[in-house]
């Protein structure tokens, strides 16, 4: 991989991480008054997938969507303004963290009903195909979404019509505080489950961003060459509580040992090591990169804070097109 691509991959992860850390820091002030789901620990998937997308490709996500929005190049100011409920938010404040959107980069939206954006993403691909567009649609969702019927209905339709859809499942082993084994049988992977539909699927380590990248390159090639959808399952791990900025080990639904084993496999740390070993980055370069990211975030937060609240008349606006 070219040096610049490798650095870009890392930068993408770093930006996602730093944005979420900033939200984490600011959230307790009580001004971002919406449910907020963090991807800290899972950055490699968003970065590795989005690196391979063109502007015209569509992305759609679910409740845990910050990383995908940022990865696809969503506007940071508009994101922070949305979290603060301001009129300059990407959804004019009407959506909050669970309804991010940036149509200028073809980030189509996200919603918190588990599974619900999967058919909508398939529909975007279908609509593009009806109009002979070559856009690919990437649909991000969690392990629990594969338990919903609508996931299967959607994969089936995509398979019948051989739609250019990349289904990306971030399997972080939990749905809220519930582990996988009380929700899905242990004798098959999610990749195997989806393969039943006759589509191309595979399972990968979601902590290694170059592994993610390679899997995505293969999958996109398959979609472009063979036509028809593919599904990638990435095994990863969420560090913070299901919803909110805090840790949750005290709850006891997962062990310290389990957490630690994943924390050592932090996707940023693992990849920084690779870059360092290849002399692509050193502490100074890293600090410079970090500073630039921080600057962008500072600007976005300042913008968001300065942005006014929507006026009362906005309540009834946007009811009908």
């Amino acid at each position: 991989m070219p040096q610049e691509s490798r650095l870009a991959l890392y930068r993408s992860m770093l930006k996602i991480r730093r944005v979420e850390e900033r939200i984490q820091a600011l959230y307790p002030e009580g001004d971002m008054r919406c449910p907020t789901h963090f991807s800290i620990g899972q950055e490699a998937v968003a970065a590795g997938v989005c690196k391979n997308l063109r502007l015209e490709d569509h992305v759609i996500s679910a409740h845990r969507s910050h990383a995908h929005y940022i990865g696809k190049g969503g506007n940071l100011r508009a994101m922070f303004a949305e979290l603060y409920g301001k009129v300059d938010g990407c959804a004019s404040g009407k959506g909050g963290s669970m309804h991010l959107i940036d149509l200028s980069v073809n980030f189509l939206g996200c919603v918190p009903i588990v599974g619900s954006t999967i058919p909508i993403g398939v529909g975007a691909a279908f609509g593009a195909m009806l109009q002979d567009h070559a856009a690919i649609t990437v649909i991000f969702f969690g392990d629990a979404a594969t338990e919903t019927g609508v996931f299967h209905e959607s994969v089936n339709f995509a398979a019948v019509h051989r739609l250019p859809v990349l289904f990306v499942c971030e399997n972080n082993l939990y749905s809220v505080n519930t582990p996988l084994d009380v929700r899905q049988p242990g004798n098959r992977t999610i990749a195997e489950l989806a393969r039943g539909h006759g589509i191309e699927t595979s399972q990968h380590d979601g902590q290694l961003v170059e592994t993610v990248d390679a899997a995505v390159v293969d999958a996109l090639a398959h979609i472009r060459n063979e036509g028809g959808p593919a599904l990638l399952e990435f095994i990863t791990y969420r560090w913070l509580e299901h919803c909110g900025p805090l840790g949750d080990l005290h709850l006891g639904y997962r062990t310290q040992a389990e957490f630690d084993s994943w924390a050592t496999r932090c996707p940023l740390r693992l990849y920084r090591k690779v870059l360092e070993d290849n002399r692509l980055i050193d502490d100074a370069a890293h600090a410079a990169m970090d500073a630039k990211v921080a600057e962008e975030i500072d600007d976005a937060v300042a913008f968001a804070r300065a942005s006014p609240f929507p006026e009362r008349s906005e309540l009834s606006r946007h009811m009908f097109a």
Binding site: A91, L103, V111, S116, G127, L130, H133, V150, N156, A321
Partner: protein, 358 residues
Amino acid sequence: MINRQLKFAEAIHEAIDICLDGDRSTYLMGLGVPDPIGVFGTTKGLQEKHGKKRVFDMPVAENAMTGVALGSCLVGMRPIMTHMRLEFAMTAMDQICNQAAKWHYMFGGQSKVPLTIRMLIGRGWGQGPQHSQSLHAWFAHIPGLKVVMPSTPYDAKGLLIASIEDDNPVVFFEHRWLHNIHGPVPEGHYTVPLGEPRIVTEGGDVTIVAASYATLEAIKAGRELEREGIKAEIIDLRTLVPRNDAAILASVRKTGRLVVVDQGTLTGGFAGEIVARVTEEAFGALKAAPIRVALPDIPTPTTRALSNYYYPTPRHIIAAVHRTLGLTSRDGGDDPWAGIEPGDKTLDVPDKSFTGPF
């Protein structure tokens, strides 16, 4: 005066055909849409004419397919979905009511969802508990949806074109017993604006509000009432949402009496909404208690021996009018079911040509 007569089903067909002709982004999908029967004739031949990319069948997966339709809107399409029975779409309430209805609003107006969902309401032989519910009240209760319920071929065509051309999700009701009725329908493109009720007959004694098939029952009742010298003003809602209530309020201010006829069940039904609205807005004009004529709060029984006593008839509307005019005591009067035999074979058919079961 329009001389061209079409069936309601043909009017629907023509509306879809015109919209497919007029706008390349329009497409039609639904179970059985391209099959030889073509959704009771309403979609027949459209695949042959417009091609397999624009008129097609789908898997039995109403929830996902609604999402697919919605997703295609986000990239510029204008889909029409068809459900042969409303109940099949009850698996799709998340996509219809949480997603499609709210998408425009919850993203601050950036995307639009010009999705039209046709819902057929079953009646006929033994449609029973799961092939006959008219849940228009549900959709009217979800902000963001428009709800359309024509009762004539003219309105069916004009309102369906308006619905398809509307940039918002529209739920469009077709009662099965309307598909075979005839009426004047102009050729070519025209629209009937969403939101304006239609005054079917003018009259000063009582206001009867109805929609969809219930309008036909109201008209039958109105004819009978006329013979008795009672002049009913019959108003066909045509759309539940949006809805300009000016005509209804003006009528009630004139008549002072209101009967609302609804093809859905009573409790929580849309008749209650009309009664509440009129009472709030025109209380001073009311001379007597408004009355709702609706289905009882019971699932639809399959045997005609019970469905014969389930669906209100024009006689029930007449009895309600009599009551509101004080011609009978509030609970008294003739039993509208009197004389009906359980085995009666005239009440479970829309007309003599009907050979069942759908």
